[in-house]
Symmetry: C2
Subunit: 356 residues, 2 copies
């Protein structure tokens, strides 16, 4: 690989590390009897989703229908929509997907249930439903077992849909007690909870301790990032994606400017306990990307013994890799230290920007 | 326009407001004898750049060569690169552009100058150079008049390039004193400062008070956003772009979840004095988008008298519109309250993601 041929800023993915990360997670799930359903929102590349399934994943997770459309086009056949699908336009799209793949959808309210039922009706295919509950993140999900049961009853009473079980994100200390209480209440109501889907890379290696979980949804583990390293579930050696950048200015001895800003690294931060700034420069770990503008990264070098020259290339470990991938139409991929693929190494991020 | 036909999340641009914003800025520049060179990093759409030129702009500003390539392909002929261009790959691309359009490039160091000179040599065309100085933002730009003069001398001594003047961003209270001191020092050295380019929408209506400024670079004014409204240079009625979103969950009375997160709104915040959260919901101005995940916007409704239902559409005014546009492959545009264009209203963001 000739770094100098890849113009910056460019995300570069080490496929050897990717494969090791994928195998490690599949092995973990196999060891503990958990089904693995990787979340493709991190990589958004169909061939990597197919690789995850080839290694043993039961299917994939998508956040948005636009992602699922790209994945089904590429041959993925079993998809969980872990996100509320609402409204007539989305019902039509979900129905079209249900004619081509096994679809499940998480719902936390009756309007979402109605949308899925409309999709099933249009498709003439049954669609599985998971009731989403909140394990403390305070985003989507019903907050009580009573609400979960009421929604499950509504699912059972609705034509064209099938109640498959429960879903939460992330699974946490609050998850097992909810599952236990739900099992009791649902059993009394004569409703079987066939599966319980949890997830989240940040504390993934203890997920098997959550009693009742049957399936794991994780995304970030394919690449890892500064946040997951900071959380202790990965090491710097497990990080498969770096944004290669060039030092474009050295206005003062203590300041460098690199050609990655919020349009290529995002503005996402990490917890103060993990580190400062908008990414970690691997060659200068004591440097701090203290501010980003759209295309500028302002780097404080005051703690650095060695300092970069103008024109020097550096590798930035992103704070949050999922939003970084989503900024780039293409990535460069390497294998065995050489550019992978057709010689250019350039791969499209096929589901980039599919937020609808 | 039938809102329900535009699936969410989707950026929707009101072209009537755009045109009023473009005319107001051109009128301002005309009134004060400033040349207007709009920055296209905000909209990234060639037809809007052509409209800016049609209304009187002397040319456009691009941050990255990838943007300039899209704009020159579309017929733009006069471009200022307001960003350091560094390295052999970029020299080749700049050279190719210089054969097709009038190019100027800002530099703040000798390595950048060398790159531009290489490009000029490859193109067989002279390329204009502005020396960038820092007016207090502490990103790129030389920090003293002595450095500016040394670099200008180097430009004058370099074949293929032409010293055109100075550039800074944003122009501020520190700008006029720097210009005055530079004029004296450069005159003593026999170097003419032909133009001085400043800019920045956040305080744009006082830019004419900066003695010595000849040209204005502004981007955000085309759409405006929560930040520029907060800065007092625009009103809510001047805001031309909103991200239309759907309420997808109402887990508790005080919480709504909308289908826009950091992948469609970005994680950019505004100053605390301007407001809280990740955007402003126009229909519920007392609601706070207190957290975003990638596709979730968590809305605190506790201060709201009226509250939205699941399935309801809302319009989110972005905190920072430039990074929002860069997240979306397409936007919907309206004119006279009706969908513009071919009936779908869908327009590509042609230079989206062109960070290289």
């Amino acid at each position: 690989m000739n770094d100098a041929e890849m113009d910056t800023p460019v995300p570069v993915i080490d496929l050897d590390i990717v494969m090791a990360n994928l195998r490690r997670m599949q092995d973990y799930c196999d060891l503990h009897g958990l089904k693995l359903r990787p979340h493709i929102k991190t990589h958004k590349m169909p061939d990597l989703a197919l690789e995850q399934v080839r290694l043993g994943a039961v299917g994939i997770t998508c956040q948005k229908l636009g992602e699922a459309e790209v994945m089904v086009d590429a041959g993925l056949t079993d998809i969980l929509m872990s996100y509320p699908v609402i409204g007539a336009a989305k019902a039509a799209r979900l129905g079209a997907l249900a004619r081509r793949a096994t679809m499940r959808v998480a719902v936390d309210n009756p309007v979402a249930l109605r949308t899925v039922a409309d999709a099933a009706s249009q498709a003439g295919r049954e669609i599985g439903i998971l009731v989403e509950f909140d394990s403390g993140r305070l985003r989507t999900g019903v907050t009580t077992v009573d609400e979960a049961l009421a929604l499950a009853r509504a699912v059972v009473a609705t034509d064209g849909v099938r109640f498959d079980g429960l879903m939460t994100y992330p699974s946490s200390a609050a998850t097992a007690p909810f599952i236990a209480a739900a099992k009791e209440a649902f059993a009394a109501a004569g409703i079987e909870i066939g599966m319980v889907s949890g997830g989240g890379t940040p504390d993934v290696w203890s997920k098997h301790e959550t009693v009742g979980l049957t399936e794991l949804r994780v995304g970030t583990y394919i690449f890892h990032d500064r946040a997951t390293v900071g959380n202790g579930v990965a090491t710097l050696d497990d990080c498969a994606l770096h944004v290669h950048a060039t030092v474009v200015s050295r206005p003062t001895p203590d300041r460098a400017v690199i050609d990655t800003g919020s349009k290529s690294l995002s503005s996402d931060l990490v917890a103060p306990s993990v580190g400062k700034g908008f990414g970690m420069i691997r060659e200068y770990p004591d440097a701090v990307i203290e501010r980003v503008n759209e295309e500028h990264g302002m780097v404080d070098l005051s703690a650095c013994a060695a300092r970069p020259e103008i024109g020097e290339r550096v590798r930035v470990l992103p704070n949050h890799v999922c939003v970084v991938v989503n900024l780039h139409d293409t990535v460069v991929r390497t294998r065995g230290g050489e550019i992978d693929g057709d010689g250019t190494g350039v791969w499209p991020v096929a589901a980039r920007g599919r937020s609808r």
